[in-house]
């Protein structure tokens, strides 16, 4: 172990950490914002609306993230039509290609997570909402979505962690994320152990941060599911 390699190259890791955090937070945000309306349409839309959403989810869940990224990064670059179009400045950038792929990928998984949680809404709650004369949008807003988010949280925290680890693939298309930084350091000093161990520690730190905040959110949202706390008045 030669830790001086890591301390001397901390700048590279700092750049990598910043890129990883940006990639994962932006793609999760875009993915989630797109996924909520898509999940609602997937549950309540007509067949014509559901079909493209099903196809989208099917494609992104049915193929590896690496293959999707290669399709976007190397694949799109092959078409002259695209290269002369207004979209090219976007797809020219490796960073934006990665962001594009990651966002759609996490969106597809999140649609399924939220849809599953919505379908699991107890039937009685829906009947009660209907009986109280709520319209579908109102029922969604007041009854279905809030309880669906509660049920979706554990599964969604998994998705966040998977996405974080998925961003390691960005290093394959020249982006200097945490893994990319480790590769540069490894290739310069030929010390894979130190280089990748540092990357592992950084990923673990981010994962535990995510877990910590999800746990707090769970405590808040799932208070009704926890065993009742004994209070002084009860005795």
């Amino acid at each position: 172990m030669n830790l001086s390699i890591i301390t001397e190259n901390f700048g590279i890791y700092a750049e990598g950490l910043q890129n990883t955090l940006m990639l994962v937070s932006i793609s999760l945000a875009i993915g989630l914002i797109l996924a909520i309306p898509l999940a609602v349409l997937r549950c309540y839309g007509s067949q014509r609306v559901q079909l493209p959403i099903r196809a989208f989810v099917y494609f992104f869940r049915g193929t590896p993230l690496l293959v999707q990224m290669f399709l976007v990064y190397y694949g799109f670059g092959q078409f002259e039509v695209l290269k002369t179009s207004i979209f090219w400045p976007f797809f020219r950038e490796a960073y934006l290609c990665a962001l594009f792929t990651f966002s759609l990928n996490t969106c597809a998984y999140t649609v399924e997570i939220i849809r599953g949680a919505m379908v699991a809404t107890p039937h009685g709650e829906i009947e009660a909402a209907r009986a109280a004369g709520m319209s579908t949008p109102l029922m969604l807003r007041r009854i279905v979505l809030p309880s669906a988010f509660r049920r979706a949280l554990p599964a969604y925290s998994n998705e966040m962690i998977f996405m974080l680890h998925g961003t390691a693939l960005a290093s394959v298309i020249t982006i200097v994320d945490i893994t990319g930084a480790a590769r540069i350091v490894n290739s310069r000093f030929y010390s894979p152990y130190e280089a990748f161990l540092t990357a592992a520690v950084l990923y673990m730190a981010i994962t535990f941060t995510i877990v910590f905040f999800v746990k707090r959110l769970e405590n808040r949202w799932h208070r009704h599911l926890q065993p009742q706390q004994q209070t002084a008045e009860d005795n």
């Binding site: 190397y74 670059g77 092959q78 290269k83 090219w88 020219r92 950038e93 490796a94 394959v172 020249t174 590769r183 540069i184 490894n186 290739s187 310069r188 030929y190 894979p192």
Partner: protein
């Protein structure tokens, strides 16, 4: 009787240890993504100058060789981890690498050069290169040279293999590439996808960055294998096999001075 048996067993044991150091079988790490020196043919077979040289050297050493394809990034760590015994992968002999591995004598030496899209710059100048994206293979002498000399003025994009750098140059994601001139000319410029690109700037061969040519890397201390390779390089240089292989790929002298 017992003594004879004991001696016989001892001899057998000695015999095997001697054989193990005999280098009857040598495993060689190659890259496979660096045309025309090393590439994978459509049928999946490895081919190229490095590959042919490796085979010729093995024949000259009288050893049986196994070629192991390995990504460039991990090519030295895998040698140190004994996944193979030697690297024949156009690896330049540099001071930095010598701290980790031993090298044989060089087996070829060619200068490095920039390429650009035809007419992007009329004349090579550091001033005109400011802010341009320059692609380079990660952890090569070219990466080192670019980082040390142009690190502040250009944006360096690092690739795992030369093939990926060519893809991004044609896709317009980088403006220039720096690499070995022969690899660039035969691996890219002479191919249909390279027709819009050209060399720019001087031949670069400063020994401070570009070393003493490409050699064969061996684990430190295994001087017997290094010596065998050195002798084999001399043999194929002398008996014309080297020239035959050279003429198969190039129309000039790649060995250098």
């Amino acid at each position: 009787m017992r003594r004879i048996l004991g001696v016989a067993i001892l001899l057998c044991l000695l015999g095997t240890t001697v054989q193990a150091n005999d280098w009857k079988k040598v495993r060689i790490g190659v890259e496979g993504a660096y045309p025309p020196f090393s590439y994978v043919q459509p049928d999946g077979q490895l081919a190229g100058f490095d590959i042919d040289i490796a085979k010729a050297l093995c024949e000259a050493m009288g050893s049986e060789c196994v070629l192991v394809a390995q990504d460039w990034d991990g090519i030295i760590p895998a040698l140190l981890a004994k996944k193979y015994d030697a690297i024949i992968a156009s690896m330049s002999i540099t001071e930095e690498r010598k701290q980790k591995v031993d090298f044989t004598h060089k087996y070829y030496q060619t200068p490095a050069k920039f390429i650009q899209e035809k007419g992007m710059m009329n004349a090579f100048s550091t001033e005109a290169m400011k802010g341009k994206k320059v692609g380079v293979q990660r952890a090569t002498i070219h990466d080192r040279y670019l980082t040390d000399n142009y690190g502040q003025s250009v944006e360096i994009v690092r690739y795992a293999s030369q093939d990926e750098a060519y893809l991004d140059l044609t896709a317009g994601r980088v403006d220039m590439l720096l690499a070995d001139s022969v690899a660039l000319s035969d691996g890219f410029l002479k191919k249909p996808e390279g027709k819009n690109y050209e060399f720019i700037g001087p031949d670069l061969s400063d020994p401070k960055w570009f070393g003493e040519g490409a050699g064969i890397a061996i684990r430190k201390g295994e001087t017997d294998l290094a010596e065998k390779f050195n002798k084999a390089i001399d043999t194929i240089r002398a008996n014309g096999v080297y020239k035959q292989i050279q003429d198969k790929y190039f129309d000039f002298n790649v060995y250098g001075e």
